[in-house]
Amino acid sequence: MEFLHAIIVLSNFVVIPAIAYGSQLALGALGVTLVYGILRFSNFAHGDTMAFGTMVAILFTWWFQSIGVSIAPLPTALLALPIAIVVTAALLLGTDRVVLRFYRKQKSAPVILLIVSLGIMFVYNGLVRFIIGVGDQRFSDGARFIISARDFKKLTGLDEGLAIKTTQVITVITAILVVAILFWFLNRTRTGKSMRAFSDNEDLALLSGINPERVVLYTWLIVAALATIAGTLYGLDKSFKPFVYFQLLLPIFAAAIVGGLGNPLGAIAGGFLIAFSEVFITYAWKKVLMYTLPEQFAPSGLMQLLATEYKFAVSFAILLVVLLFKPTGLFKGKSL
């Protein structure tokens, strides 16, 4: 019984939140890794691309709510998502046309593109804050829980509750769908294959008649979808605040690098690794230990390894260790 309680507490506070968070990081890291693999630079604007996409989703959510459109019990934001993806894609393609294409034609070094993406990041950053403000926005509606802690207790007669939020389930299902479609696209369609070919060997791809501008176009379309979906899911699960999305850049890059930049499978694995580490290390283990340890060893403190405020240190530490000991990441980087 004690042990069962420990497992329920662990699931409730660690496993389920980490799975949801991991899915969001994985989707974010996939975007970063695709840009790195195909366009060959580290896109620092990705966090703010997510913020922009989410902002558009929020604006349309509000509009749908105001005219009474709803898909309850699902959150209205899901309805706004396709529109947000289209708007974000337009922004990314516009940016590419106005800024990035110039540097691509010059065959600029990746580090120059990285700095350029930093500039784009600041622009997006300002754009989002200008339109929606710096504050916290909540936009999730519909049913909040699939199972609330109280229902769970009543149902099972146990002392500990297990809550599963609607947004968590939606996050995981959406992530699985998106990843399945992405991998099917990359491995089975000609366009996807030509993107892989371009990532594998750019010169050869060009000489095989693959049009680079087309590959770039598809890459941005996919990145827009990934970023908007990841950002909106994160915002539904927690809340939307531009600064938080800017900060997400660190765990997302950590996930992509840990998995091996340019490797989509690695990005997914990296996302979950970072999410689980972060939640594990910032969780107060007191309750779980109380259930599992004999009474005389019961802990008196919170048993929290790191305060939540320092959670970014976790990504940073993992990143450092990986870069020191396996710079290409856990999976081999740079191949799609």
Partner: protein, 261 residues
């Protein structure tokens, strides 16, 4: 077929190709020889669109194709292979070949989702074609191997195979025989001859193996230090004193250099 007019390619102050003018006749197999560093590969790069020439013109059947992007040249039937074989390492040899024919049905987003049937037919035809090419090159057994894993010589064959997937007009082969054993070299020579005869490909072949040149090429061009030294039949080239001095005569030394490169 291809006319090159006063082509220059400079890297900083270094003139890798320094005023090359020549004409490649339709249906010929032209040999391009010369010591390492002569600028042969750079000339190919400048023609095939990987590096924009600093100066000069390239005409294909009278049409100016100077500085076009590689994928545009591909669609005009201009192909090249690399001195150090390139491959899509994470794909199988068959998939490598199947990447080549481009701009088919299936390249648009719409068709990717809604034209599945026609795409499936096309993929089947493409697979058959790739298998045929692999068979021709005697590497059928490698069709499912990852291209990154096969030997250097086999990668060279794959490079040649790539040009067989479409109907090219002119193919530039950069040291297609380097690192390939005798038997394979003969296979390659036969393939080149057949493509030339049966499909009317025009070839320009960079090669250090003089037997190979002798068997295939007429005319032969010799380059050194970014310039054309001589252009003519193999016999003329062999007796040209500039060529002997710059390339053939110093045979042993050059061979050592070749090994290093």
């Amino acid at each position: 077929m291809i006319e090159i007019q006063d082509l220059h390619k400079h890297f900083g102050g270094f003139h890798a190709v320094d005023g090359v003018s020549l004409t490649i006749e339709q249906g010929s197999i032209t040999g391009l020889i010369g010591p390492n560093g002569a600028g042969k590969t750079t000339l190919f790069n400048a023609i095939a669109g990987l590096h924009k020439p600093t100066n000069g013109k390239v005409l294909l059947g009278g049409e100016d194709i100077t500085g076009l992007a590689p994928h545009q040249l591909f669609h005009k039937g201009v192909m090249r292979t690399f001195q150090i074989a390139h491959e899509f390492a994470s794909m199988s040899c068959r998939e490598n070949l199947m990447m080549v024919p481009s701009n088919q049905f299936g390249e648009t987003l719409w068709n990717t989702w809604f034209g599945r049937r026609r795409i499936a037919d096309q993929e089947r035809a493409l697979t058959a074609k790739a298998d045929e090419v692999l068979e021709f090159l005697t590497i059928s057994h490698l069709s499912d191997e990852k291209a990154g894993q096969v030997s250097g010589g086999q990668k060279k064959l794959l490079e040649l195979g790539r040009t067989m997937m479409v109907d090219a007009k002119i193919v530039f082969l950069d040291e297609v025989g380097a690192g390939v054993n005798r038997t394979l070299l003969n296979t390659i020579a036969d393939a080149i001859k057949r493509l030339n005869k049966e499909r009317g490909y025009t070839f320009v072949v960079i090669e250090h193996d003089m037997d190979f040149i002798e068997k295939l090429c007429d005319p032969v061009i010799c380059m050194a230090e970014g310039k054309v030294l001589a252009h003519g039949s193999l016999a003329e080239i062999k007796n040209n004193e500039h060529v002997i001095e710059a390339y053939l005569g110093t045979g042993l030394k050059n061979k050592e250099k070749n090994v290093v490169q």
